[in-house]
Amino acid sequence: MAIKTFLESIRDTMHDEMARDERVFVLGEDVGVTGGVFRATEGLYEKFGADRAIDTPLAELSIIGIAIGAAAVGMRPIAEIQFADFIHPAFDQIVNEAAKMRYRSNAGWECPLVIRTPYGGGVHGGLYHSQSIEAFFCHSPGLYVVAPSTPRDAKGLLLSAIRNPDPVLFLEHKKLYRSIKGEVPDGEYTIPLGRADVKRAGSDITAIAYGAMLHETLNAAEQLAREGIEVEVVDLRTLFPLDRETILTSVRKTSKVCIIHEDTKTMGLGAEVAAIISEEAFGDLDAPIRRVTGPDLPGIPFNETGEHAFLPNAEKIATALRELARY
């Protein structure tokens, strides 16, 4: 068992899988010689060469288009989009092409492709280096959307993603890259896609989060525990398709729910989670479902106060949880 940062875990996992399976290669802007702007692909070029760590043209549509073609004929591409904010030129290739390849050919063709991309705010990235993009892509059956929050999960989920026969959008919260360290088991292990994880058990309230907000939520739960309120923290891990069972099991136990995400509120992931709970577990609820999310603004401001105002954090989450406890 080694202690690794979130970033090291991702990098080492790609390295190991490229060593194991020569169909796996990485492509993206600056992923080769320099090892990626966040250094997520550092060392892959040196180890596996220019054929397998490809510095692509600055053209996101084709990064995905090329990867789809290669995946269709048996390769296992890992495409990096340098920042999630710049994935939109490739939206058509992801949603109309990769996600629909299996369905549209009645399983004649498939698209085993991983798209890794750093997303999220809190690093002074302003409007265009802070976006949460998951909601756009969680509306596209045929595409998995994964967002790990710990180094251990990042490894197990990334391995599953690479070996998965369908396309996976693998969202890496950039604030976690170097700020989160944790134990990563040695050797190979996979974590199935589509399974959430209870990161902290509790009996009073269910808090549902993912990515960077998972850590803020755990901090908030810690504060509440000192006040005698036991919060169960569910880490969604896979955002589409959602693990309804884990969500509902926890809600039936606690009867109170708070959903936390950094993405803007309206039509965000929390809306769907809330809808699932009201359809399936309405009778178990003792309080209205709460959401703590980013506000409905076009972007996250660059300046310190604006960014702080936008992002949910442990304080804001704790306040919501306390109110929910009192309800």
Binding site: F25, D51, T56, P57, A59, L61, S62, I64, G65, I66, A67, I68, G69, A70, A71, A72, V73, G74, M75, P89, D92, Q93, N96, E97, K100, M101, R102, Y103, R104, S105, N106, A107, G108, W109, E110, P141, G142, S160, R163, N164, P165, D166
Partner: protein, 342 residues
């Protein structure tokens, strides 16, 4: 002396000069003819709304058969577009397959009737499944070529699209990759001069699509898209280049679509009947018949016979598809996700 004369005559026979046997060139004719008769039937079936939609390859048969004929069937890859009926017929799809797609019936091989007709795909024939957004197949074809290069086989990829689609960013990005990485892919633009109603001059400021090849460091070749042998010759050279590891070629086949864009289009709103009639005189099937007659491979009687044979095949496909069941409703639900294989 006599043998020299015979050789000289042989070289004047275009198909032989291209290395095609008499049988092969007759096979080309048959593929073009079958595609045409099948396509004509599809229009007829649409008229009383027996089928919901048809998009036609009429007029494009020479470009398509000439190109597909230069591939190794089932070995090379094709990533075609919706007009490529003659391409996929040449590559091994059957008239029954295509009729099943037209009627949206059970067992249709491209998608089991999930997609609109003419969204071809077959794993067995290495025909990659296509979608409706134009030009998306272009970077994907470059991606297939990228994988081929990585695996070090001598396969090639053919991808097809219209001239209007070359205005899309996908075209630029795909060709850019092919140039940078010297990829074994042939980009065949079937330039029929219109994108629905919009003429080519409103898609680009250069006279030829092929002119754009220079910007990507690959050869751009213009061929007469209504002359199957002209297309075949250029395609054969491009395939040979690609197999030798010398990279991609952009081929522009100049042609015309003498029918509306699709069964939903009325082309009288954007072009004159005189223009259409003028182009009908250069019909690729007629041109092929003239050529084959000139080289003594076809005559009036054989033309009638092959037409009768084509009608039989089309009748069979039509009847087969018409009587095929629809997929059961549950068939819409499956094959969203695959299973992990270890």
């Amino acid at each position: 002396m006599a043998t020299q004369v015979a050789e000289k005559i042989a070289l004047e026979i275009t198909h032989r000069a291209l290395g095609l046997s008499d049988d092969q060139v007759l096979e080309m004719y048959w593929a073009m003819l079958l595609a045409r008769r099948l396509d004509e039937r599809m229009w007829i079936l649409h008229r009383p709304h027996l089928v919901a939609f048809h998009i036609s390859g009429i007029g494009h048969e020479a470009a398509q058969v000439g190109a597909a004929f230069a591939l190794k069937r089932g070995y090379d890859y094709a990533h075609p577009y919706y007009r490529d009926m003659a391409t996929v017929l040449t590559l091994g799809m059957t008239p029954r397959d295509l009729m099943l797609a037209l009627f949206g019936r059970q067992g249709e091989p491209s998608s089991n009737g999930r997609q609109m007709p003419s969204h071809f795909g077959s794993r067995a024939l290495n025909i990659v499944s296509g979608s409706s957004p134009v030009a998306t197949q272009i970077p994907q074809a470059a991606g297939i070529a990228f994988a081929i290069k990585y695996k070090k086989t001598d396969q090639v990829v053919l991808t097809c699209f219209g001239e209007g689609s070359t205005a899309e960013g996908d075209f630029h990005e795909g060709l850019n990759w092919a140039g940078i990485h010297t990829l074994p892919v042939i980009f065949l633009c079937q330039n029929n001069q219109y994108a629905i109603s919009v003429p080519a001059a409103k898609q680009m400021a250069v006279p030829n699509v092929a002119d754009r090849a220079r910007a990507y460091g690959i050869p751009g070749v213009i061929v007469d898209g209504n002359d199957v042998l002209d297309v075949y010759g250029a395609m054969r050279d491009a395939v040979a280049r690609a197999r030798r590891g010398q990279g991609a070629t952009l081929i522009e086949a100049k042609t015309y679509r003498p029918v509306p864009h699709s069964s939903d289009d009325d082309d009288r709103t954007y072009r004159s009947r005189a223009e259409v009639e003028e182009w009908k005189k250069r019909d690729p099937i007629l041109r092929m018949q003239e050529y084959l007659t000139r080289v003594n491979l076809l005559n009036a009687q054989k033309i009638v016979e092959s037409d009768a044979r084509a009608k039989q095949v089309v009748d069979d496909a039509d009847e087969f598809a018409r009587n095929a069941p629809y997929p059961p409703a549950e068939a819409a639900l499956g094959n969203v996700w695959g299973q992990v294989k270890s």
